[in-house]
Symmetry: C2
Subunit: 479 residues, 2 copies
């Protein structure tokens, strides 16, 4: 199906079907067996975790070096063929769909950790390294990489979408945790952004420009990321609340007091039920907060005391401890698997996932309004959220064979996003725009700010070959 949120002009641009034979020959010289035009391979690279129908690339190359990426970009530029970088395929917004055909550049074989520098608390990785892989490699160092979007995404993809997740409230997002990048530009030239120093005022912040650019300005071929010391002590807890408003107000107070909480996650009654079913927990099926505390032994004890008092002040019940690693893991594994747990609420369904983020003072209002919208809908819509950041997700569960359900999901999505924007928020806290949020860019940024983005896009990718059709329309849509 064509997705109503994506402008028709983008979705209906036909794929070219086949690549120019001269390009195919040239790519084959570079990649040999690592170039594929097989239907199954193309199909795998034409879809992601979103509810969009697949849009297949014309070919897939499996890059192993920056030079190969550079050569591909140069060749595709010569033939005016699109290039779509592909990491782990875990996007929720249609980022990697080949809406204009072209070459999908699979980076999963560029999965080498190039260096780990414990003294400087940094690591340099190829873009196909996943966050779990990096953390496994860090095991002996006393350090960890904190950004955790749930899926075992590739770090290149996490850079490209400006990912964050459960512990951004303490450690920040990819924006704060990428020190520098190596990037191949549209014409194949390769640049480095940033240095190994923690801060710099030397020129435009190209690192932050490419972080979040969704493959539309260049291909990230290497990333230097910040690591953090593993806390001496970690403790986790869950707590149920009579209402969402109580839970959110507790979180606001925790943040305002400056408690350096590592994670604070909201789970609504329906999501709690899905976790109980999928992960065999025995959560009360009411609004819940999951907490994680990092610090010294004494510091964690102090945080826990403060937070449990705040929770009690807001009618929190059954504040339950998990200091043993296995209990903590059980709780957080359940939270990590929430996406798949929620899908089980409606067997055979796919999820359209919203991702709004609002100022925390407006969060309760935003979720309450959202709950009212959802109450009148026939679709199951569990809610989970990184509430310390004001970010929450509604998983709108649709039967992929029922177009009417997609329409209903889009209707809900529009209501949710419009409310968040009206409250001073953003249409996407961490998933990115991809295809699905293009229609909200005007409302969020205004046409003049979009023009600045367009000017940058044209300056760096004049032929519009880098992941074309994503993020925004290149034409000014309104006066």
């Amino acid at each position: 199906m064509n997705h109503p949120a994506a402008p028709a002009s983008i979705m209906q641009t036909p794929s070219r079907g086949v690549l120019p034979p001269a390009l195919l020959d040239a790519l084959r010289l570079v990649f040999g067996e690592r170039l594929s035009t097989a239907e199954a391979v193309r199909a795998h690279h034409g879809r992601d975790e979103s509810a969009f129908d697949p849009r297949l690339p014309d070919a897939v190359v499996f890059a192993e070096t920056t030079d190969e990426i550079s050569a591909t970009l140069r060749l595709c530029a010569e033939h005016a063929v699109p290039v779509i970088p592909f990491g782990a395929g875990s996007s929720l917004e249609g980022h990697i769909l080949a809406v204009n055909g072209g070459v999908s550049m699979d980076l999963s074989r560029m999965n080498h950790i190039l260096s780990i520098d414990p003294e400087d608390l940094i690591a340099t990785v190829e873009p196909g390294v996943t966050r779990k892989q990096l953390n496994d490699a860090l095991r002996e160092t006393g350090l960890f990489f904190p950004i955790d979007p749930g899926a075992d995404a590739s770090l290149g993809g996490m850079c490209a979408t400006r990912a964050s997740g459960t512990n951004a409230v303490r450690y920040g997002t990819m924006r704060e945790n990428v020190l520098g990048l190596k990037v191949a530009l549209a014409d194949g030239r390769v640049i480095r952004t940033g240095t190994r120093a923690r801060k710099s005022s030397a020129g435009y912040d190209l690192t932050r420009l490419f972080v979040g650019s969704e493959g539309t300005l260049g291909v990230i071929t290497e990333a230097t990321v910040r690591l953090h010391p593993l806390p001496e002590a970690v403790s986790a807890a869950s707590c149920s609340f009579p209402s969402m408003v109580d839970a959110v107000n507790a979180v606001i107070q925790v943040i305002q007091l400056g408690v350096p909480i590592a994670r604070v996650e909201f789970v609504d009654a329906l999501a709690a039920r899905s976790l109980n079913m999928h992960s065999h927990l025995s959560l009360k099926e009411s609004p819940q907060l999951f907490f994680e505390f990092h610090g010294t032994e004494a510091g964690v004890e102090e945080q826990v005391r403060t937070v449990s008092e705040i929770a009690a002040d807001h009618h929190g019940e059954g504040f339950e401890w998990a200091t043993r690693p296995e209990d903590r893991s059980r709780l957080w594994n359940a939270r990590h698997n929430a996406y798949f747990a929620m899908l089980q609420l409606k067997p055979g369904s796919r999820a359209m996932t919203t991702d709004v983020c609002v100022p925390i003072s407006r969060l309760a209002e935003c979720i309450a309004g959202t709950e009212q919208d959802l109450a009148s809908s026939p679709l199951p819509c569990p809610i989970v959220g990184h509430v310390g950041d004001g970010n929450f997700h509604v998983a709108i569960l649709v039967d992929p064979n029922q177009p009417a359900e997609y329409e209903e999901a889009e209707r809900l999505n529009h209501l949710i996003v419009r409310r968040a924007l009206a409250l001073g928020g953003t249409c996407t806290g961490e998933h990115g725009i991809g295809l699905h949020k293009i229609g909200f860019m005007h409302e969020e940024h205004g046409e003049d700010a979009l023009d600045v983005m367009r000017a940058i896009k044209r300056a760096l990718d004049p032929a519009n070959l880098l992941n074309p059709g994503k993020m925004f329309s290149l034409e000014r849509e309104r006066p």
Copy 2:
């Protein structure tokens, strides 16, 4: 004098001397008495705290609204006349010198705090608000704005230079603490970047593009910044070390252990002497660290215990406490006044201040090499540094009437920057490029990354009217 580090092509572009009469008339209609062409006013706006000789603008306008800024940009674009935003004039790198003449846009009257939102921990300010003014206004809220570059700079200027300072080690720099901006573009259009939400993945990070752009891409007319809860307890200490290497190694260990230290500042023996003279302290005249600890009472006690043990392990002596606010203030006021204290080491001197920042693992090596270079120089060169970030400053004291001393200062500056770049660092941690570091941009970024910056500059300011001649040469300098 013409400054050797700035390319001759930039410095020798003549000022036009007078503005087109039609422009002057049009500006007078907008600004009335708030437009000045008086020599004294232009002279005040043609210099900063750097060692550069003044370069006067042709006129100065004192803007009071975003509309006036927008109108000025539109009019100057019509007449192809440069515009140079002017905040507090505290730049150390020649940022505000009117090297091509034009209109200096004084923003100091745009000094209104537009809103303070304690629940969301954010404030929105006009660009002329200074950091002290903001903190005074926050006094009753239990919140503070942490970025502290020493000078009472304007927040617009701090955005423009990506400033940081003494407590970036804990709270980050302007990069991390600006949530959104209002920006007037070269053609007078006004955009907003960012939202009031703490994070977003919606499109290119225009906020981070303008932060650090030194007035070359647009004029910041409003900034929304992050606030932080005032810590329950604050404690400060100083400690002397037998050598710089011991002091730096102590800092590395503090950082690696993840102690959430709020400030850790290095002061060398000569700088310590200047502080003793200027602020009537009785510091031992040897390498020193100044610490500040923020947290709960128990948390601060724990940090202090840990850090004093680490200091002792690295031969620290006389770890001295300042828990009383007046003692803390005395120590930190002295540190804040270090720039002026150091100038007193050579009465009548001006300082050429270096600002390199390196990965912390290379910091001791970098400072040691620097000390060797300085030892053979006749100029007094005290060193202070935000060592938790790997950033340090050498204040090279020159007699403004002795051109040979400027040359010697430039020679030292080149040695210091080249070494920092070779160690994986940056030529500027927090002061910006301005005029003085232009010559190092090629070496730090490479010509292809500079081309990306140039492409962005051309896309947003095609006629090169926004603070022209700063940051980088628009022409590719080398093949």
